[in-house]
């Protein structure tokens, strides 16, 4: 399945919300539960993630599951995004900081796909999500 449908392509921009609503909602996010972490690259298109990069959902978004789909509302862009199936599973995993290698392993285990294909897809998805400001790369 992954060979034919890279997870990054599951990410869709659905629609947008008014700017004033986005601006007003951007309060200081709460510290994540557990160990504190520091953002190293947030939405920097020049930063290339690899398997040792740690990734976490960005604070400037809200999301919910709708069937097999996760719908994300970005407070930065005001856009609704959706992730399906494998992408949705990855999104659930990055509620807490995770190494991309851990994401790859989890998907390989759950879906029984070839590790090399999953590696490329997961890296591509994380990079794409970071460019949209939906995830942060952290240490």
């Amino acid at each position: 399945m992954l060979k034919h449908r890279p997870v990054a392509r599951n990410l869709r921009l659905d629609s947008a919300i008014p700017n004033e609503v986005q601006r007003a909602a951007r309060g200081p996010p709460a510290a994540p539960r557990g160990e504190a972490y520091r953002t190293v690259k947030s939405g920097d298109p020049q930063f290339l993630a690899d398997l040792s990069t740690r990734v976490v959902a960005a604070p400037d978004q809200v999301s919910t599951r709708l069937d097999d789909e996760i719908v994300i509302l970005s407070l930065r862009s005001g856009g609704y995004f959706s992730l399906e199936k494998v992408g949705a599973r990855i999104w659930e995993l990055i509620g807490e900081p995770r190494l991309i290698a851990e994401l790859r392993d989890a998907i390989v285990e759950q879906y029984g796909a070839a590790p090399e294909v999953v590696t490329d897809d997961v890296l591509e998805l994380c990079q794409h999500l970071a460019e949209l400001g939906l995830v942060d790369f952290v240490e």
Binding site: G27, A30, V62, T64, R65, L66, L73
Partner: protein, 433 residues
């Protein structure tokens, strides 16, 4: 448990939960089985079994809309047996579920923005009900329908909070001035705001119910116990766990014309019953006794048990055994809840409920006295008085009511007895009175 004592027309699962008690229609049974945050295997089997019968799907959808459980209906059916539901209906329910999910995301973003603006303006605020329950009870924003945002502020901050809401584009539904403003603040508990451009609504609360309903549930008690928690991974002031079921119980009991009119509220209570710790239940019972709302609290849990087969914490089960009136009231409320045709309520029935739901004699007397003399919107709208004459409104209320009934004595009789709707109930959904 009372709900388990019913005769059945369908199967029974291993725990004794019935697919369809004989006094419930197939459609109501489906609605209630699906009205929960989590569908376990046993419940799914019951739903699947019911779907083998001939279902009036228009009726099911209409009921789910009325009771605010469309997302739960969709979720329940899709977990239990989606293949047994007409494809076009599942597509339609799915569309509505996704639409509500996106709308709820929008509303939670607006709530976070409002809380930030209130905080920046020096107004501490506690969000409660809809979005908070969606996260705490359902674990999924899309599963709990909510059409407005409820925010509690301190009474002295209401004016400042109103200004902040106006700055965000909201307008109040009404703007009392002079004595009416003073009286409205004293007797009301919230001011509704709406924003036309995106159909957003906010209820700005400074209390949870009119003073005559729960005189002792005052704001100081709430603010002294408010806790810092998380809402969508952000810090937020929240109601303490022990107070949440009390607030839900009072909200359900105070609602007119009938108390607890929507299944989604009972699903909330069932969910809260499941996640509240024994220690918090203990505190809730002590607090409810102090406030004189213990029976209201027990009624809420008894309804969750009776209507949705919710598990009752042992502590509450013992309290229910000690106060059988709560379960008796739950029988009445269930009858009103599941009426297919909503009759105009009889004032006599309502007053009887309001008196019976209080466990202390002094609260009953106080309720009746305050109910008689507390001005309503109609009283406030009847005359525009200067602030110094605000004490006249209670007398004005009596003059207005007395004048109306003297002109038309049959009206009083009708209100007291209620207008019974002659429409025949659908099959088996209107239990015998």
């Amino acid at each position: 448990m009372a709900a388990h004592a019913r005769s059945t027309t369908a199967g029974t699962d291993a725990r004794g939960t019935t697919a369809r008690p004989s006094d419930r229609s197939l459609e109501v049974a489906l609605l209630l089985h699906c009205a929960r945050a989590h569908m376990d295997e046993a419940r799914s089997r019951l739903v699947s079994e019911l779907l083998d019968e001939e279902v009036d799907w228009d009726r099911v959808v209409e009921l789910a809309r009325r009771h605010g459980t469309v997302p739960l209906l969709y979720h329940g059916l899709s977990v239990a047996a989606p293949d047994k539901v007409p494809g076009t209906l599942m597509t339609s329910l799915r569309g509505r579920f996704h639409e509500l999910g996106r709308r709820n995301l929008y509303q939670i973003v607006e709530l976070m923005g409002l809380l930030k603006d209130l905080g920046d303006g020096g107004v501490p605020a506690i969000p409660f009900k809809g979005p908070v329950l969606a996260e705490q009870v359902y674990g999924n924003l899309a599963l709990r329908e909510f059409s407005d945002l409820d925010v509690l502020v301190k009474p002295e901050h209401v004016d400042r909070a109103s200004t902040i809401l106006r700055d965000r584009g909201y307008a109040p539904w009404y703007e009392p001035s002079g004595a009416r403003h003073r009286v409205a603040r004293a007797v009301e508990y919230a001011l509704p705001f709406s924003r036309a451009r995106d159909r957003m609504s906010v209820d700005l609360h400074w209390a949870f119910a009119r003073k005559f309903f729960t005189a002792d549930l005052d704001e100081e008690l709430v603010w002294d116990r408010a806790v810092m928690g998380q809402l969508q991974r952000r810090d937020a002031l929240l109601l303490p766990p022990a107070l949440t079921p009390i607030v839900l119980a009072v909200h359900g009991a105070k609602h007119g014309p009938y108390p607890w009119p929507r299944v989604k509220w009972i699903a909330d209570m069932a969910g809260i019953a499941g996640i509240t710790s024994p220690e918090d239940w203990q505190e809730a019972l002590v607090l409810a006794r102090q406030l004189g709302v213990r029976r209201m609290l027990l009624l809420g849990v008894a309804l969750a048990e009776r209507v949705l087969d919710a598990a009752v914490p042992p502590l509450i089960a013992r309290a229910l055994d000690d106060d059988p009136a709560a379960r008796r009231l739950a029988v009445d409320v269930e009858r009103w809840l599941l009426f297919e045709s909503r009759p105009v309520p009889a004032l006599a029935e309502r007053v009887s409920f309001d008196v019976s739901v209080r466990e202390r004699r002094r609260d009953r007397v106080r309720y009746l006295g305050r109910r008689l003399f507390t001005p309503t919107h109609r009283d406030l709208g009847a005359a525009r008085l200067p602030r110094s004459l605000s004490f006249v409104y209670p007398a004005l209320r009596w003059a207005r009511l007395g004048g109306g009934y003297l002109r038309d004595p049959t009206r009083l009789q009708e209100i007291w007895r209620g207008h019974r709707n002659a429409e025949a109930p659908s099959r088996g959904t209107e239990p015998a009175a």
